[in-house]
């Protein structure tokens, strides 16, 4: 026993790395390893309901504040949000507060446009990339509440009927940092309606704002993205064949759920072993 404990205590951390690596990668080859059903949380449902309640021709503002570092969690969310808007013919304005995010967004929209459902989506009519501005959120907000169009210096049919930010019905901020808090600070002042899509790391920071109603709807981490995917597919009212066809394009977050489960089981086992060693040693020291 003592030998085992001392072995485990001096375990090279690279073995842990290897196990985590394998536990993340193997479930992609054996997708039926774990049960994949889960309920939808109320925050995700709220985001879906709000976008679903908008009318054709309404506008939504997407604040794309993540670069490729966080794309595993946030890209599926953004994809589903944009697709839901396209389904409902809602105009989408995408703004990038980060330079390296621009290509990510442009490529995503190009990818969506290749899918059979969205071949008729047009740039400048159904969506527009507003690009990057080298000013803070506060200044941008002030400017958007004076004159929405001239803030970004872009042209297009999509701007028709949108004078200020008041004409935008909902905004979503996708970020893995405290970035949405800049908007939240100004939310009560201007009274716009906003939701966030955040990584699991920053998710808990936004709970107080959800309770006060400053935030309306939140997508939380990889599971939030997976819930959103399922929710949108379920409500498309498709036949089984069509659903299977659609699933090819809308399973990015769901595909990772089995890996999430297995890697966490490994984590729990390691935490358990760590605690066992600790208690064994404490007992051993006491008896000496």
């Amino acid at each position: 026993m003592d030998v085992l404990i001392s072995r485990l205590k001096k375990l090279d951390r690279r073995w842990i790395f290897l196990l985590i690596f394998l536990s993340c990668i193997i479930p992609f080859w054996i997708p039926s390893l774990f049960r994949q059903e889960f309920s939808t949380s109320k925050e995700t449902q709220r985001v879906y309901d709000i976008i679903n309640s908008l009318n054709e021709g309404d506008a939504i503002f997407i604040d794309w504040a993540f670069n490729p570092t966080l794309q595993a969690e946030l890209l599926p969310m953004a994809e589903q949000a944009i697709k839901q808007c396209f389904d409902k013919k809602i105009r989408v304005f995408i703004y990038y507060p980060d330079l390296t995010a621009i290509s990510l967004g442009e490529n995503l929209v190009e990818k969506i446009k290749k899918e059979p459902r969205y071949t008729e989506i047009e740039s400048g009519v159904d969506y527009i990339h507003l690009g990057y501005l080298p000013i803070g959120v506060d200044m941008m907000m002030f400017s958007m509440y004076s004159d929405f169009k001239s803030t970004f210096g872009k042209e297009g049919k999509i701007f028709k009927g949108i004078k200020t930010f008041d004409d935008i019905k909902y905004m979503m901020s996708f970020a893995g940092s405290a970035h949405p808090e800049y908007y939240i600070l100004l939310q009560r002042r201007f009274g716009f309606k906003m939701g966030v899509g955040v990584t699991a790391v920053t998710g808990p920071d936004f709970i107080p704002y959800l309770q006060t109603g400053q935030l309306d709807g939140m997508l939380f981490g990889l599971k939030g993205a997976a819930e959103y995917e399922n929710l949108r597919l379920k409500n498309l009212n498709l036949s089984t064949e069509e659903l299977n066809e659609e699933k090819k394009f809308n399973q990015q977050a769901n595909a990772g759920m089995a890996s999430l489960t297995l890697s966490h089981i490994i984590m729990f086992i390691f935490i358990g072993i760590g605690n066992l060693i600790y208690f064994y040693e404490r007992k051993f020291k006491k008896s000496n």
Binding site: C24, V201, G221, L222, S263
Partner: protein, 252 residues
């Protein structure tokens, strides 16, 4: 020119090449987990090069041309009275160069003092508003809540926030009632940190799952490149760089 186009089409625009290069870069960076090595350094510099090049090109196209060069050109060709503001702001911006100087650094104070004051001025009322919003929401009437589940949340939120604040209250020694409240406060904060930690672990692993998906989808390149990188690392650490690194002592 044709030659360049052919090269571009057959390398970076070739789909097989793209798959292999993205798998190669992923595994190159993962090789850091074994130990710091030249492959990782190469990847790091590629990363810096691409991100800087990307940023410069994009900044030029999106920001510098439309918001700096074009206004200056317009002002030069057809001067209007309001162009004076542009000159004023460019002068303000160029004061930043004085920060590099040791004796004349104070010139930039004019701009920085203004920026900080602007942030203060616009944030003071907004922060107070937020403070009140948070406080008011915390103290919603109890009887508005329908279920026991919600009511239990109400109690924890009110007394938990209060206890948490008491833990940060250092003007009196933590003894007696204050000590007990602070003790509850620290438990509440611990649950908070635990939740944050759990969420952090999930988030970080989710990031790697994104990469794992790329590796799992392209099995053949992944296996071949993994084997070659492993062989390289073995050769490198056995024959080329024999002396142990700084962090090898801490490797367990």
């Amino acid at each position: 020119m044709d030659l360049i186009n052919t090269i571009i089409d057959n390398t970076i625009l070739n789909q097989t090449f793209q798959v292999w290069i993205s798998v190669l870069f992923t595994l190159m960076m993962l090789s850091f987990l074994f130990r710091d090595n030249p492959l990782y350094k190469l990847g790091e510099n590629t990363f810096l090069g691409i991100s800087l090049g990307y940023g410069w090109v994009r900044a030029w196209e999106i920001a510098i041309v439309p918001f700096l060069i074009r206004p200056i050109k317009d002002a030069y060709l057809d001067f209007q009275p309001y162009d004076i503001t542009l000159i004023f702001w460019l002068l303000m911006g160029s004061t930043m160069f004085f920060r590099f100087s040791k004796t004349k650094a104070w010139v930039a104070n004019y701009y920085f003092a203004f920026v900080f004051a602007y942030v203060a001025g616009y944030e003071i009322p907004v922060q107070v508003q937020n403070l009140f919003v948070q406080g008011a929401n915390m103290m919603k009437p109890l009887f508005e809540y329908p279920t026991f589940f919600e009511i239990s949340k109400w109690f924890v939120i009110i007394f938990g926030t209060f206890a948490g604040l008491m833990y940060f209250f250092f003007s009196k020694p933590h003894r007696g009632l204050l000590g007990k409240t602070a003790r509850i406060g620290i438990l509440i904060l611990m649950i908070n940190f635990g939740a944050s930690f759990g969420a952090t672990v999930m988030g970080r692993i989710a990031l790697f799952i994104g990469r794992a998906q790329v590796l799992a989808d392209n099995v053949v390149p992944s296996i071949i490149i993994t084997i070659s990188i492993t062989v390289y690392l073995i050769i490198y650490f056995k024959y080329i760089k024999k002396e142990p690194g700084l962090d090898d002592e801490l490797m367990h």
